[in-house]
């Protein structure tokens, strides 16, 4: 057995000096060349476990029990010097966020060199040759140039490749990857995952792959462990686990994954009412403001075009999904329609009224009728105001309600969002992420809008929470008949909520049409790539909601 973990327990000291357990008696085993996925939602202890596999804990944490046998030796019992010697040479880590994980003031080459020098005692010159070769192995076209760059000069995908090259520098027997692609776009993720699989074979390395994304684990790993509250609650062959999960929690997690390639419509299509669309956008263009060097009177660089010639419309009561990766211009579209930024050229008509000004200059009723929900639920709620005051504000601004009336209405809103009215006196930080996003939704619905703009509203949430928030949004929409512009990078989520979809890339439309058509017969190669990147690898168990949807039909 290459790696054998027995009863590993890790605890940490909290701010109020209590000792809590983060990893609770975990046992697992990994053989040469195997791939093991560790899945779990935020706070389940998977990252702490990953570090503990290398006999490392963060300051404040402590390994309190268990053994980690690497080739038969318990590395937890080794003196510090030998632990250092093992890290990076026999077991190596690919960290979560490549930008913050590379030292910003050092060239990336030097950061690989030092690992090679340390473990293999090479000279500087040999180290440099080796580093360049490693960078080349990760598939970067100009490894010499990359070697001399600083981390901030690279793209997200390139940085991830650098970090992988650094981890593989000494051909470790085990590579631990901690959410290595979470910060990346889906198409980049796909390429990185392919690279990881290819390098794994080339370097003959066993993998421990940690992720919240079951889909990604299914792509990479033969075996899977599902963690919850510091314990492994289910372990086994990936395909079997996906097909017939034993534990109820695993089943719920699997059900919550949005399905991209499920056959048939995932829910009944809302009928097109035939009325004039609520929102019509024609030939929208938006250019970022020019940036200067900051020297007085120096020339300015014109801003890049964020959105080029975009036209679409949203019919009443329907949802338009806007899909794209970072830099596609999808958030710019949301900002322009909601009025965060003044529009560029082109025409936007909302219920026949032109939207040619930023929100503060729009008539109050127009501001009420278009509401926006943001990506990060915590930062979209003022941490110093109670939930009650947050919800009462739009009621008082838009409907001139008195204090008592507004409070009662706020309580009703909370209840419609499946939350107790006692939460009115709580503060945002006392709520869970899902509850925060419900409050944000409630605030938007408080204005009784005709159009609601959702900008990546579930990307910051765990899958299980995401599913419940999406359900809530759908039921609220059914109840109120509001139209929706739903922006997301996640095709699965889009498929779940959107009637029609537009695929954006670099500010241009790549694909557009009813969701079912675009998903089943994508016309543009980019859409096909996106679909491939988010494809459910094992779609063996139809989700409960799909069954329900089919039953309705």
């Amino acid at each position: 057995m290459l790696l054998d973990v027995k009863n590993l327990t890790v605890g940490y000291r909290t701010d109020d000096r209590q000792f809590r357990i983060a990893v609770d008696g975990v046992s697992l085993a990994l053989d040469k060349g195997e791939t093991l996925g560790i899945a779990g939602e935020s706070g389940c202890g998977k990252t702490t476990l990953a570090r503990a596999l290398m006999a490392y804990t963060r300051p404040g944490s402590k390994i309190v029990g268990g053994n980690v046998f690497l080739d038969g030796t318990d590395i937890l019992a080794l003196p510090d010097r030998q632990k250092h010697a093992i890290r990076g040479s026999r077991i190596a880590m690919v960290p979560q966020n490549p930008l913050s994980s590379l030292t910003f003031h050092m060239r990336v080459g030097a950061q690989i060199d030092e690992i090679v020098c340390r473990h293999e005692g090479l000279s500087r010159r040999q180290a440099q040759e080796k580093s360049v070769a490693l960078l080349a192995a990760t598939g970067m076209p100009e490894p010499d140039a990359i070697y001399r760059r600083y981390p901030h000069e690279l793209s997200g995908g390139q940085r991830q490749r650098v970090v992988i090259a650094a981890a593989l520098a000494c051909r470790p027997g085990i590579l631990v990857l901690d959410e290595p692609t979470t910060a990346l776009d889906k198409t980049t993720e796909l390429r990185v995952l392919e690279l990881v699989s290819q390098l794994r074979e080339q370097f003959d390395t066993a993998l421990v792959y940690i992720s919240h994304d079951l889909n990604v684990i299914a792509r990479v790993c033969d075996r899977i462990c599902v963690m919850r509250d510091g314990r492994v609650i289910e372990a086994g062959d990936t395909r079997k686990t996906f097909a017939s999960p034993v534990h109820g929690y695993t089943r719920r997690l699997l059900d919550a994954i949005p399905r991209v390639n499920a056959s048939g419509p995932v829910r009944p299509l809302r009928a097109d009412s035939g009325e004039a669309p609520i929102l019509e956008v024609t030939n929208l263009k938006y250019r970022y403001p020019a940036t200067g060097l900051g020297i007085p009177f120096s020339p300015k660089k014109p801003g890049t075009l964020a959105v080029q010639d975009l036209s679409f419309s949203i019919n009443r009561g329907r949802t338009l999904g806007l899909v794209g990766e970072s830099g596609s211009g999808k958030s710019t579209v949301a900002s322009v329609i909601s009025g965060i930024i003044p529009p560029g050229s082109g025409k936007i008509a909302f219920d026949g009224v032109p939207l040619n000004r930023a929100a503060p200059e729009r008539p109050a009723d127009l501001r009420r009728r278009i509401q926006m929900v943001f990506q990060d639920p915590l930062s979209s709620l003022n941490p110093r105001l109670s939930i009650g005051r947050i919800l009462m504000r739009p009621l008082r601004v838009f409907f001139a309600m008195g204090h008592e009336e507004a409070r009662q209405e706020a309580a009703r809103l909370l209840e419609r969002m499946d939350m107790r009215a006692e939460l009115l006196d709580r503060f945002p930080r006392q709520l869970s992420g899902g509850q925060q996003q419900r409050v944000a939704l409630a605030r938007a619905f408080a204005a009784r809008p005709d159009l609601i703009i959702c900008d990546e509203v579930t990307s910051a949430l765990d899958v299980s929470v995401q599913a419940s928030v999406l359900d809530l949004l759908l039921s609220m929409q059914a109840e109120s008949g509001v139209s929706c512009l739903f922006i997301s990078h996640d095709l699965g989520v889009i498929k779940r909520v959107a009637d029609d979809v537009i695929v954006l890339q670099s500010g241009e439309v790549r694909d557009a049409g009813p969701t079912s058509d675009v998903f089943t017969a994508p016309s543009h190669p980019y859409t096909q790539l996106l679909l491939e990147a988010t494809r459910n690898v094992f779609d063996v168990r139809p989700a409960a909601s799909d069954e329900a949807a089919l039953a309705v039909q």
Partner: protein, 322 residues
Amino acid sequence: MFAAIARRISLSFLILILVSLFVFLATEVLPGDALDVSLTDDDLAVLTPEQLAEMRAELGLDRPAAVRYLSWLSGALVGDFGNTIITRAPVADIIMGPLRNSILLALATTAVAIPVAHFIGILAAYWRDRAPDTIVSTSAIVGYSIPEFVSGNALILIFAIWLPIFPATIVLYTDGPILEMLAVSILPVATIVIGSIAYLSRLLRLGLVEALVSDYVERARLAGVSEWRVVFTHAVPASLVPTLNAAALYVAGLLSGIVVVEKVFAYPGLGLELINAVLKREVPVVQATVFLGAVGVLLMNLLADLSIIALDPRVRRSAGRG
């Protein structure tokens, strides 16, 4: 990179002009001119209006304020600060020696404070929240909570009076030889160094504590990079960036401290010159010393900014710290 440097330099120059405008306005325009301010009631009783007018003309005070400002500024930029009101001696000649002495004091302080502060700061950050840190952090707070005139007098009392090792006051001429000046300025330097070390070591500790819990330090540690390399090639250079930003602000505080110390030890520097000039209402000398003080601060800030550009490749491209 050139754009970033050019921006820093042009900004410093702009600030210098604004400083000169402020100094001029504060002393000459509101609420009376330099002559009104300089003359005592006794002087006014003796002088006739004609004599006053003549003095004004001689000092150029009869010209409009804008003209006076521009001629003062153009002089100041080349080191000509006009003549004193009472003795009519060129201000530049008067402040030359004291300026040299003050620079000497500042350099000696910096030369001692920076290495020691680094040593202490790194020690405290590495053993964060353990005994060395608690001792260093608490004594640092005490260190910079004590004003220079208290610590200076304490040093005099201990090392000049109770144990007569050093002289209590500097009784040298303004233009004594540099080595002699240095030899007698151990106590003044020690006084400023106490506060500076306290402040700078805390800044460094804070910057380094942040760097040591960063993702890049963790990655390097998990790659087996030696602890020595992690601290000195990854963390310390990174920690200098926020430290330099804050330390640049401290330069002004250091100069204020030097003024007090010069007074405590009767050290013949620019600070002592300033205090005497203020008490004598010798406006041209006040203007010159304050202007030179601001030049010093701006130069040090520029140096800090350029060091940051050298240390942090990210700011080489962007417009700067804003």
